[in-house]
Symmetry: C2
Subunit: 248 residues, 2 copies
DNA sequence: CCTCGTTTCGTACGTTGTACGGTAGACGCG
DNA sequence: CGCGTCTACCGTACAACGTACGAAACGAGG
């Protein structure tokens, strides 16, 4: 980092920024919206490490420092970006409350969160700094609570369940993104990679005496994949919830 | 980033680095171990943003560029750090295979992963780049598979279950870390924070018509917390697994 | 003592986020 | 139309970063 390390100084100002778009158009023609849009496009295409104030400014068509008239700093810009993509989770897709019963709804949520996470991989890389509570996040939260409303859960249980589902899905997406990145920049197929690294790992496994992982690892390396793992974990969880609902 | 953006160039070299500590002691007295230890200490104490090659070098007591004689670059150093902390998940604690039945084992895993994640918060911030497969990760994986061995699961199911449990726990830890950080650098108690921000959010909720989140959000704000959410999600999952095991 | 390979590390570069303060445009008023 | 004032713009400058480069210092073998 340069002279930075400037965490969002004023939380209140950030809330204002999130909830009141301030469509002000200055002499330069820039708006918060155009900045955020450009930044998201850039980052979707080239990853978080390409997100640079200079690059954003270039894409918007203004000198760097002009951005600072509309956005307090990079941290706040990222926060705006996060809220924006969070709000678009179900854009162009069915909404969780209208795909069937609660089970179908939760499965739909998991699937969307997974795919949306993969599509905006950078959002998973952002270091967790402060809870973002913008309109996008809130709207999506509302949509996702819908399938859980009125099926016999306490309020807290509704949130806990949704959080658990989202946890599984985002972890799976993170894992998927990791795999894709590794594949991309190593120029190797999974097979080639394992042929290179496998022997060394295998030897280490013998030396260290790791019997269970050695057999499990083999199965996973050949048939494991994040999406499958997600649906397995999800099934477990939904079965548990179903049992509880029936017992009431 | 400076002229960097240098993802670990040679995966094979990294594997070698991970599995063969190379306890070489040069003229400067530095070893890989001393570098990694210093780096972890520094980062535990001051966060990932304080992890600087210059700071590490200072703490070790050598000029910066000396580090590069032992470690290829910052990315690889981080990978070494990650594997090291992963290997210490159960240091000084019971091992998952010896705390009772499979259910107790998985609950223990979740608790340890959660606490360990909070203790090394920076490890959760590291952008997911490439799967780390060092000795620490492998040893811990072995320990965590133990409670699942021989209870009637397929090999793939064992991995899927463990992954699901870990997903819940790391997400909870991430959330906890976020909360702690927000509390720390805003100098406000939760109550003060809500008194400042609450009204604005509440108004937005009315304007945007978000009935469910508004009641759920209230319950969560007053009684929600990551650890509780974790144990709720975990209970759901373990209930599901229990049902499946009984049905076989 | 000299030679040669290895390890150390001083210097320098390009890139980053953004503080600072001069400047130019818009606008109300005469 | 002229002029002061206020605001938005943005050129310049800086500190901090990761690390390439190559000279210097070292240990060992002749």
């Amino acid at each position: 980092m340069p002279r930075t390390a400037r965490p969002p100084r004023d939380p209140l100002a950030l809330v204002g920024l999130l909830w009141e778009p301030s469509t002000r158009v200055g002499r330069s023609g820039v708006t918060i919206g155009s900045i955020v849009t450009a930044a998201i496009g850039l980052t979707d295409a080239e990853g978080l490490s390409a997100l640079t104030m200079r690059r954003v400014a270039d894409d918007v068509g203004v000198p760097v420092m002009t951005l600072y008239g509309h956005v307090p700093g990079k941290a706040e810009l990222i926060e705006l970006m996060l809220d924006h993509v969070a709000g678009a989770t179900y854009a162009g897709h069915d909404v969780p409350g209208e795909v069937g019963d609660w089970r179908a709804g939760l499965e739909h949520i998991a699937q969307r969160v997974f795919e949306h996470g993969c599509a905006h991989a950078w959002a998973l890389e952002v270091p967790p700094a402060r809870p973002v509570l913008g309109p996008g996040v809130c709207r999506t939260y509302e949509l996702e609570l819908a399938p859980l409303d009125g099926i016999g859960l306490e309020l807290l249980e509704m949130d806990e369940t949704l959080t658990a589902v989202r946890s599984l899905a985002t972890s799976a997406a993170r894992w998927q993104v990791t795999l894709d990145a590794a594949r991309r920049d190593s120029q190797l197929t999974d097979l080639e990679w394992w042929e290179l690294v496998g022997p060394r790992i295998a030897q280490a496994m013998r030396d260290e005496h790791l019997p269970i992982s050695s057999k499990v690892g083999q199965a996973v390396a050949s048939a494991g994949d994040p999406q499958r793992t997600l649906s397995a974990g999800l099934t477990l969880m939904l079965d548990g919830l179903e049992g509880r609902l029936q017992a009431r």
